[in-house]
């Protein structure tokens, strides 16, 4: 069963279905019960499940996440909805030092979801940090970043049936992204990337909002007979390097296209891994698309100058092919 919906709505439906199934799931955050969250991510759930399960909280990120982590260690499955993941900075200790470590020390599961937005949009530097990479650097956390409604729904369901703390990242610019979504038992596993478009010439690994830009670039490149393979990582931890490797063994060239800062990014990790394991099979260096290393500016023209686009993907693919063509047998 599937239906056409938006990413935000699909997340909401996935959460609602799991709440129906499991009474230990409770959502807490600011402006949830009446408003339905700042991104319509829990619209109507207050009325459906009541104030006990859809809890308005004070703007106290440390307290919200601590309450979630402690409750997760004691039988609940809390979803702490921070609206913006930038606000996780006020709860970094609770996420990194508390939730992420209890299992390593004591084998104690911490089935906590911390949800919020990430990625570039209007609104300035303090609401648009691309923080998904930060959390993938913490042993003990899982990190999801869906690009489609189906994945938003399927990944939140998997998160709520697992036993690990999950940072659930939703890109602001995908809030209204439309697409199909699955039914109540269509789960999307963590650590399994998806091939969004098969191709033979260059592998483009991407996630989040850049998936659509990579697919748009693929259309333009196809006009010139260039077929790129677009891989959507879907989760950054675990990171499905196996699928990336399998693809690059076929295409012999890789572009990593992320919106995040290039410096110290998931793209850097993928490039480093691939040169280590596939050095002899690459016809070109791994090229990376990412944002300039600056705080997010306000003026739209400056913002546009920061955000990587489909033209950047296209240019990187052509560059990889130019290098590769000198090395490939004709």
């Amino acid at each position: 069963m599937s239906s056409r919906t938006t990413l935000s709505r699909a997340y909401r439906d996935g959460l609602a279905e799991e709440m129906e199934r499991d009474p230990s799931i409770v959502v807490l955050g600011t402006d949830l019960y009446e408003r339905g969250g700042h991104w319509a991510q829990v619209t109507g759930l207050g009325q459906q499940f009541g104030r006990d399960r859809v809890r308005n909280a004070p703007i106290s990120e440390a307290a919200m996440v601590a309450a979630g982590a402690g409750a997760a260690m004691n039988g609940l499955r809390p979803v702490v909805d921070l609206n913006f993941l930038d606000f996780a900075f006020g709860a970094m200790d609770e996420i990194v030092n508390q939730a992420a470590k209890a299992r390593y020390w004591w084998k104690r599961p911490v089935p906590l979801v911390v949800r919020g937005t990430t990625g570039f949009a209007g609104g300035g530097a303090q609401h648009n940090n691309p923080v998904e990479t930060w959390f993938s650097h913490v042993p003990g956390l899982l990190v999801a970043m869906p690009s489609t409604p189906a994945d938003a729904k399927g990944l939140i369901k998997t998160a709520l049936r697992g036993d690990d703390p999950v940072i659930f990242c939703m890109h602001k610019m995908l809030t209204g992204a439309r697409g199909e979504a699955g039914g109540p038992d269509d789960l999307v596993p963590f650590g399994q990337a998806a091939i969004r478009r098969p191709g033979r010439d260059v592998t483009v690994v991407t996630y989040g909002v850049m998936v659509r830009k990579a697919l748009a670039a693929a259309e333009r490149l196809a006009g010139d007979g260039i077929e790129i393979e677009v891989i959507d990582l879907r989760t950054l931890m675990p990171l499905d390097l196996d699928l990336v490797e399998e693809s690059v063994r076929r295409t012999r060239a890789l572009v990593v296209a992320a919106e995040d800062y290039r410096h110290g990014s998931v793209g850097a990790e993928i490039a480093a891994e691939l040169q280590e394991t596939l050095f002899g099979e690459l016809d070109a260096p791994v090229l990376r698309i990412g944002a300039r290393f600056v705080p997010v500016p306000h003026s739209p023209v400056l913002l546009d100058a920061l955000i990587p686009g489909e033209a950047d993907v296209e240019r990187a693919v052509r560059e990889a092919l130019t290098i590769a063509s000198a090395r490939r047998p004709r």
Binding site: V26, D52, R55, A57, P58, S60, A62, A63, M64, V65, A66, A67, G68, A69, G70, A71, A72, M73, N74, G75, L76, P78, D93, E94, N97, Q98, K101, A102, R103, Y104, W105, W106, K107, R108, P109, P139, G140, L141, L142, G162, D163, D164, F190, G191, M237, P238, L239, L241, D242, E273, E276
Partner: protein, 346 residues
């Protein structure tokens, strides 16, 4: 009171055991002796290096932990800060798995992965000690949230110190607990020093309990060297929590007789000050004196209690020494439930 130089209960500094059965008070004394013995034994082992990574001893603060734990059962949850041996033992944790954890052994409560700041035993409702100042109160807050959500009639207690009372997170936790009327006992062990910083140099306002009162919950100061006073305050707090009346804030005025770290040679307080507390406010000596006064304990009986405390601690040391070290090949196991498949390179 912000400083710790004046008597806190009145000129005789005696303990009022009215209404408390002698057997219960004797059990408290036995538990405090066990804690004192545990730390007196582990301390030199840490200084000598047999216990790696140092140690924070709570010697002098035993009555706070025992008094609070005296009103809690195994389904009531406690979380404790970096100085936590007294709280873990008061809640009923096995000294053997504690000591093995201090030694970094596989038989420790965290398999040697935690150390003395990460003790836990969920079976007795001890949800862990915590290396982050104020952090444990957040875990107890979450446990109380789960209890409240389930309406199971249990409660939680979260401990922190006067240092924690200067963190923002502690007051976020207090506010949320009060707003949601959670069954939480908030216990501030004010021992006068945040590591080596005297509270009067670090705290604006009069008292920590006074700060807490601003959140609209009952906030009391008790003599933390008087186990019966702590017990009574905790009993009221637990009754309120279990009855659905929300959290209570207890500021227990206490004192650590040893340094922040074991082996510390600090110049931040005088030997006279430490001696005053040792002579006049040792919680074990005070309870012993009160039980002698009431005719429920003599020197022979006290000697037997002390010997009874020494046995399990010696057994714990033997257990820890004999236990196996963790297998280094397991270092990356069990980070998450889902395998992460993070590569390790050549």
């Amino acid at each position: 009171m912000k400083t710790h130089t004046a008597p806190v209960t009145g000129p005789d500094a005696g303990i009022d055991l009215a209404g408390i059965p002698a057997a219960e008070a004797l059990a408290w004394l036995a538990r405090m002796l066990l804690i004192r013995e545990f730390e007196s034994t582990a301390g030199p082992l840490a200084v000598a290096g047999a216990i790696p990574g140092g140690m924070h001893a709570a010697t002098g603060q035993e009555a706070v932990a025992v008094g609070v734990a005296s009103v809690l059962g195994p389904l009531d949850v406690v979380a404790a800060p970096h100085r936590s041996h007294h709280i873990a033992l008061a809640k009923g944790m096995d000294p053997r798995v504690m000591m093995a954890e201090l030694f970094g052994k596989a038989a420790g409560c965290a398999g040697g992965r935690g150390g003395h700041m990460h003790l836990a035993d969920f079976g007795v409702g001890f949800d862990g000690s915590n290396g982050i100042v104020g952090g444990a109160l957040g875990i107890a807050l979450g446990a109380a949230f789960a209890q409240s959500y389930r309406r199971d009639g249990h409660c939680s207690a979260g401990f922190f110190g006067d240092g924690g009372a200067n963190t923002g997170r502690v007051w976020e936790f207090v506010n949320l607990a009060a707003t949601w009327r959670l069954p939480l006992i908030i216990v501030c062990e004010n021992n006068g020093y945040a590591v080596e910083t005297r509270i009067s140099d670090a705290m604006a306002g009069d008292t920590i309990a006074g700060r807490a009162a601003g959140f609209g919950l009952p906030a009391v100061q008790v003599d933390g060297q008087d186990v019966a006073a702590v017990h009574r305050a905790a009993q009221q707090a637990a009754d309120r929590a279990r009855g659905g009346d929300g959290p209570t804030f207890i500021e227990a005025l206490t004192y650590r007789l040893l340094g922040h770290d074991i082996g510390e040679r600090g110049a931040y307080r005088t030997a006279e000050e430490v001696e005053w507390w040792q002579v006049n406010r040792d919680p074990i000596a005070r309870l012993k004196a009160a039980l002698q006064l009431s005719g429920d304990l003599d020197e022979t009986g006290y000697g037997k209690l002390a010997a009874d405390a020494a046995g399990p601690v010696q057994e714990a040391v033997r257990f820890a020494q004999a236990a196996l070290l963790p297998d280094p090949a397991t270092v990356a196991e069990g980070v998450t439930g889902l395998p992460l498949k993070v590569r390790t390179g050549p």
